[in-house]
């Protein structure tokens, strides 16, 4: 029974992986492919690549922090018994269910400095929007694409953390109340430790997603203006499909993979250390 699954895995996953290692170690020359670390040397000297890497990291850290605190706050709020929480829970999930391409197109229209809703509303409020060109401004573009990510993916953080909160049994809370702990102490010493697995999982998933972000930026700015919002994934796409330089694209993908792996390992270590204590 394992054989077919193994065959699929081999042909769809292992073979392409080996092949991409191979092409990342080859550079084109008039005499045919040359083996070596040429692609990796080029990558070290390529300031476009490192600019894209910096944008990716800024994007990931900023979006992760905002999404986490917003999502956590919302989860705590809607875990308590406030009025209309069912309605809020349902509507909050809508952005996450929309295809990213649709989100990108809608926000692109909203960001349009002339016809867009955002500047339209600001003008109504008497704000001078001349400098507010959003995705066309080198200063605002990265913040604008981060805002769109926050809008779309905070609900995911919210959803996972809410599920985590609901799974916490009542007994520890009752015990804390009996011991006379304040609500901050309860949060700090009961909720947070018990929620830690959910927190680490959501941070891990979001980090991996953020580091390979492609679609919404591709639709919103295509990396521009200039190079202001180019991420590593966009640059890899360009190298592979516009310049047909698959070797270089593969080399960059491996660097991104290594970075993603390092960060993920840290998260997983944290997760395991907690489990061993418990």
């Amino acid at each position: 029974m394992i054989a077919p699954a193994l065959a699929v895995l081999l042909s769809l996953s292992i073979y392409p992986l080996i092949y991409s290692v191979q092409i990342s170690l080859q550079t084109d020359s008039p005499a045919g492919p040359v083996w070596g670390l040429g692609n990796f040397e080029r990558l070290l000297m390529d300031h476009f690549f490192w600019d894209a890497m910096a944008h990716t990291l800024i994007y990931a850290v900023a979006a992760l922090l905002v999404e986490f605190f917003l999502g956590f706050g919302l989860a705590l709020l809607l875990n308590s018994s406030i009025r209309g929480r069912r309605f809020f829970r349902a509507t909050l999930l809508i952005p996450m269910m929309l295809p990213t391409v649709v989100v990108g197109v809608v926000w692109r229209l909203m960001f349009n400095p002339n016809f867009g809703t955002i500047n339209g509303v600001l003008r109504q409020l008497g704000v001078n929007t001349e400098q507010l060109t959003w995705t066309a401004s080198p200063r605002l573009a990265l913040a604008a694409v981060i805002a769109v990510d926050v809008w779309q993916w905070t609900p995911f953080v919210f959803l996972v953390l809410l599920a985590g909160l609901q799974a916490i049994p009542q007994e520890p809370y009752e015990a804390a109340r009996v011991d006379g702990s304040s609500s901050w102490q309860t949060f700090r010493h009961v909720t947070l430790p018990l929620l830690k697995p959910a927190i680490l999982i959501v941070l891990l998933l979001r980090t991996m997603d953020l580091l390979r972000v492609f679609d919404q930026i591709f639709i919103l700015t295509e990396g521009g203006p200039g190079f202001a919002t180019e991420t590593v994934s966009l640059y890899i796409y360009r190298a592979a499909f516009r310049f047909t330089d698959f070797g270089y694209a593969a080399a960059m993908s491996f660097v991104l993979l290594i970075i993603t792996n390092l960060i993920s390992t840290v998260y997983i270590r944290l997760l395991q250390s907690r489990e061993s204590v418990a």
Binding site: F115, E222, G226
Partner: protein, 423 residues
Amino acid sequence: MKLTHFFRHVVTISISLLLLTSCRPNQKQIRLAVNSGVEGDALKQAALDYEKQTGIHVNIAGFPYANLFEKEQLDFNAHTGAYDVIMLDDPWFPRFASKQFLTDLTPLLQKRGQTQPDSDFVTTSLALCRHPYQTGNLFALPYVGNSQLFFYRKDLFDKHGLSEPVKWNDVLSGAREIQEAEAGDGNQIYGYVMRAAQGNAAVADFMPIFWAFGGEMFDSNGKATVNSREGIAALKFMLELGKFSPPGYASFNADDVGAHLLQGTAAMSINWPAWIGPFADPARSKVIGKMAFTILPSGDKPGQAEIGNWLLAIPKDSKNVDAAMDFLLWATSAEQMKLSAQRGNPPTRTSVFKDPDLIARYPTYPAQLRSLESSRPRPRTPQWNEIENAFGIFLSKANSGELTAEDAMNQANAEIEKILQRQ
């Protein structure tokens, strides 16, 4: 249980259909890869006629613009010979031809008693099909003859007593005059709209200014020279013009420019012939009958448009070279090209541009022919995609205010040099 039964039937039937269609007994067929868009659609319709006339089955694969390049490149690399005739955008040609992916057409012409393609083809279009440019062997024939045109609002020019812009300085002064005078009347009309999004957009809108100012991308030794005195002056001029362009134009693409022109909120622009049609469409256009089209303005040098032709070529791995050549000659004949023009594609033959029926239908044909005849190709280098990408990033950075004209051009030059050395 019933449902699985049903699915089994569906699968059996579809497999047998598949087998039937793929085993057409001994019938001759050629396979085409085309752009799915107006250019490719015209060729698809022509292929149906061809099938009726000759009995040769024409199998067509249509791909969106970006995918077409990938598919063709992958087919070449893997030597699959999947296509007998391919449609290609002219900037791809140097890459394909220099890597010897295409069939030399001259021997095939000689076999048919011709020494070279007939002289009716517009010289600038045919020059694109030779490698090296203009002088080398023939590896393609031109099918769609696009080149940029200068679009302007005739009504606004008349209203403000301005004549058709001939020089880039007329464009700048006209843009200022129209924008300020209209603002005085309470209308927000931008003097000039351009696209300065990184990549192809910024480069396409900049090249005519760059050339008119005497800029050259490379010197005679092939070294990058975009940061020459002329190049920097041209970019400074673009930034001046940008002051009369709508805010955010540093991220504009063709659709943003089209929207401003159709809404009547911009007075001038450089654009491609495909955008002429929509101005007459009442559903989209607020400027019906108000637009005029002419050749590009000049600077120290005569004005030149960027050429953007679709070519037809035969991959080297094709197994039906002769049948492919017959189709290629038929599709680019004057008679077929007239039909293609009626389907919306600008021709590459002088006689078709001058056809009275077509001029009656497309009054801009004389201007288009003048623009095409004086047009200039993007630099013919196999690395154009990468160079254009890098150049476009720095042009966009200058237009978004991130870099000065000097810094942008110096950095662009260094980056282009790096790409050239990687060869």
